[in-house]
Amino acid sequence: MRVLHLSWEFPPRIIGGIASHVFDLSRALARRGMEVHVVTCNFPGAAEYENIEGVNVHRFEAYSGGDSFYSWALRMQKNMERKACDLINSIKGVDIIHAHDWLSGVAGVGLKHLYRKPLIATIHSTEYGRRTGIHNDLQRSIHEVEGWLCWEAWRIITCSYYMRDHVSWCFRTPNNKLCVVPNGVDVTKFYFNFDYWGVRRNFAHDSQKIVLYVGRLVQEKGLDVLIKALPMVLSRGLPAKMVVVGEGSQKQEFQQLAGGLGLGDRVFFAGHVDDWTLRALYRIADVTVVPSRFEPFGIVALEAMVAHCPLIVAASGGLNEIVDHEGTGLKVPINSPEALAWAIVRVITDKGLRDWMVHNAYQKCLWNYNWDKIAEWTGGIYDAVLYERSTSPWKPA
């Protein structure tokens, strides 16, 4: 089976989460014996063609400039399409075209009809979800492009049941076109030798319990709820120290909130940290908290689970599906500092519960969120689509 993935980002070009998703998925598909091609934007220093662990990566000249990101994205996709046409002609056809989000979806729609091959789309996130609604013409335009992609796609893959229902509602997509394949996490990246206390002392005093937050500093991620929970934890006499990893447009508001509650020395805004430090942080933290209000999937939860870090999440979006309450982590209602404080105290003081949840969470990652499993499920979708394609009246001449 020959599969063409379209993605606007692929390592070393990393802008959002799609790059690492396509990187892991395409390699796992190649391990299953598929011939995988990825067409993606060029990047300074990256080769025009390279083979990465069996994945054929083809890079094309993407523009810079244009009058907006949106118009750039559309013109870039015309170049993506042209590159893909030349590629498909030179390898004598593909079986499946797989586009990721609207940033490669328009090219996918064109290629589907030019070659009459089934188009599969992974919807990682929607404009509606990212902006909590559609508020201006730019957002509406992107929303319509996403809807167009969902209309044209043979199958739509979402990463959680929550996102499946969201896409179904957002674009009036019939449920029989939608399927769910979760995101994955690479276990091997999290286990390496490092100086435990050396890293830990960069973030907290030895006697303090580290409460870790990882995510963009924006309203939808709910950091304010976590900050408001912290005084209640401290009032129980627990020496908690919050480490906040990430940047965002509302950083200052969160810093002011923490300062106003007298938590200046209890909340450490670490900004962006490198991948190695982040993984080490998951392993030294006493608890990871994901208080999101909107979350298509919640990759942070997986990273904590695979690193044996106890996990507390707000019951929103994909997090709801990843975490089983008192099984693989604790689940609390969204927007509730009281519940969050209760959960933090419980996790830190109850070693038996902690060990039980951490063990289960790690097993769940190995079982459910491993890329080879995900490639197997994705391959199953490809097989089903190819069968439907072979029996459909939509034939090339």
Binding site: Y63, G65, G66, D67, S68, Y70, S71, L74, R75, Q77, K78, E81, R82, C85, D86, I88, N89, V106, V109, G110, L111, H113, L114, Y115, R116, N136, D137, L138, R140, S141, E144, V145, W148, W151, P396, A397
Partner: protein, 210 residues
């Protein structure tokens, strides 16, 4: 010959001169026993129509909202929908053991679909310029205008032949986009009997049958 024409206006949609120019050309070609398929972006009259032998496929843009009424994003989304319709026409021809010999694109708005179709199906395309951005923009060198220039440049680069509506425009194109293209560009005055003969001759040159 079997000709696929891409245009952004065709009667009854009239925003400029291109509409009636293309319609006249299409009807003259049909009179001269060519098969003509016209694909036009027309949000209000979408559908298929056989106009005295000219097969007109009117399509609408699936993306209706465009921030700041941007012509660029409109053109790019419409381009993909034109490819979709053109692909259907090309596969329909194949089913009837026929093929499209040449794609004729008009103005920069139909350059992106023409390029994709050329690369996917290996069909040569020729492009007619009725005017160029350098003349239309009144010394505006903003990002939108520059993008349109780049698309015009790409169209000239990728096309097999270029037709300018006058000798003057031909020389202007050469001075804007490089004299290296002089071998493949014709100035064709779009009036009279010889007009269509010259266009057909350009088609034949592009398709390699002359």
């Amino acid at each position: 010959m079997n000709i696929l024409i891409l245009t952004w206006e065709y009667p009854p949609k009239r925003l400029g001169n291109v509409s009636d120019h293309v319609a006249t050309l299409a009807h003259e070609l049909v009179k001269a026993n060519h098969e003509v398929e016209v694909i036009v972006i027309d949000d209000w009259h979408s559908g298929f129509e056989d106009v005295y032998g000219v097969h007109v496929h009117r399509i609408s843009n699936p993306v209706k909202t465009h921030p700041m009424a941007s012509v660029l994003t409109y053109a790019m989304t419409a381009a993909t929908q034109m490819e979709v319709e053109a692909s259907k026409v090309i596969y329909f021809y194949r089913q009837h053991q026929k093929s499209i010999d040449v794609i004729h694109s008009h103005e920069w708005l139909t350059v992106p679909p023409a390029i994709s179709l050329k690369h996917a199906f290996n069909i040569p395309f020729i492009i007619t310029f009725h005017s160029i951005e350098g003349h239309r923009c009144h010394d505006n060198f903003g990002p939108t205008s520059m993008a349109i220039r780049e698309i015009e440049d790409m169209g000239i680069w990728e096309s097999t032949r270029v037709i300018a509506n006058t000798e003057w425009l031909k020389n202007e194109i050469l001075s804007y986009y490089g004299g290296g293209h002089s071998a493949k560009i014709d100035g064709v005055w779009p009036i009279g009997k010889r007009w269509v003969d010259k266009i057909v001759s350009a088609y034949k040159k592009a398709a390699g049958s002359e």
